[in-house]
Symmetry: C2
Subunit: 250 residues, 2 copies
């Protein structure tokens, strides 16, 4: 059996998969992809994932992309540690929540990550260097995002709307945790694993949105998560991003 | 066992779930939700799904939302007809593709559906009626979309970008079908079920994007799908949308 993961530092979508691997105590060969050097756009990496994005799992030759899908794959292929509820309705809740994280919560947080961090990287490049970077990005949507942050960045209205979405996300979480211990019911599941990197970023970036007064249950959930050995193990993975560029996670 | 589905006419996301139920030959109680009468925003429906959206599955009291998740639930709860590949890598491919349909292909098609069809509905309302409709929509994003189409609609640039995304989607499909019979490999799966309502809409709305010359494999796939008894059975479900308002599917 060979299990390999191409990933960046233990934040955002890379962290989702690193955490899942650690929870399942699976040995894997780690390939660090340096996003600050744009290694994810290099031809040899794009051959692996035509979208030019991390993480990517390779298992006995099969290439699996998309962190949420990778984590479901890890459950299918290594069912020993149950991170998927046995109750089918709770499993559906796990998927509805993970979908919400992918489509709503994560993009809102990501916009701020790009605005505060990736923007510094983009602005450190000469016009010529930036053009070379843009040229190699496979997805138009990603190219557009780079062009946006290298220029005027997102509009005030867009940033405010993303902040509003972060509040909606934490409020939803709070409501779920008022009814159940974990995000998909009574059992720790991929809903919790998939949320951790995003939730961890909120109190650091917006303490007014998530603090023990505004979101006591979400804060308690985060404390419990932070104490898990798998979370500590995943966070101890290499992080070559300079401190000054870190805005959330890690 | 009681299985109930709240759904609109057999198009878009309602069709995804109707088709899955028909493929599995499951008996269910059908609750038609009339979107033209905004029944999805009525308090009794919002109690069922706080997002105010169809379809919703109710199984022995458990409420399942989100068409993609409902279809995975149906597989979990009724595994007899295998719509999920047994090969885990193909199952991951099924999920990557379904995610792409949800996050990229469907929103692009949906924008045109709103622009061409829902816009007519919005414009048939008085200012007063529209305000009443907006008031009851639970999701801000949906409220904004109604306000947009009741006014100037989407911009030319937004509509053109969505059209571009439809071409990207059909091109991707063509590439997959050059390598395998179905969208997630050698076996008919949820990847095909989840794509059908979207793909069926493209040649009707944009024959220049999808025709036997530009996309021969996608066209052949659609013919094969159209001939499936389950597709015919799902399409024969009630459709109360007046012909003049139909733009895709059904």
């Amino acid at each position: 059996m060979t299990l390999e993961l191409y990933h960046a530092e233990p934040v955002a979508n890379s962290m989702k998969t690193l955490l899942c691997l650690k929870e399942k105590d699976l040995k894997f060969r780690s390939h660090y992809v340096d996003l600050l050097r744009f290694e994810q756009h290099r031809p040899e990496f794009v051959k692996l994932n035509p979208n030019g994005q991390v993480p990517v799992l390779v298992h006995n030759g099969a290439v699996i992309t998309e962190s949420t899908v990778i984590n479901e794959y890890l459950y299918d292929a290594f069912p020993e540690v149950a991170l998927r509820p046995q109750n089918f309705a709770e499993r559906a809740q796990m998927r509805v929540w993970s979908k919400f994280v992918d489509e709503y919560f994560c993009p809102a947080l990501s916009m701020w990550g790009w605005h505060l961090m990736v923007r510094k990287v983009a602005q450190s490049l000469s016009k010529n260097e930036l053009e070379k970077v843009l040229e190699r990005i496979p997805l138009k949507e990603q190219r557009d995002k780079w062009a946006t942050i290298a220029g005027e960045s997102f509009s005030e209205a867009q940033l405010e709307d993303s902040k509003r979405k972060l509040k909606v996300s934490i409020d939803r979480m709070e409501k779920i945790l008022a009814k159940s211990k974990w995000l998909a019911g009574s059992q720790y599941s991929l809903a919790d694993v998939n949320s951790y990197p995003m939730v961890a970023g909120v109190p650091r970036m917006f303490p007014e949105i998530m603090n023990p007064k505004t979101a006591p249950l979400a804060c308690a959930w985060l404390d419990t998560m932070n104490a898990r050995p798998a979370v500590r193990a995943a966070l101890s993975m290499p992080n070559r991003v300079p401190e000054v560029l870190r805005t959330f996670g890690g």
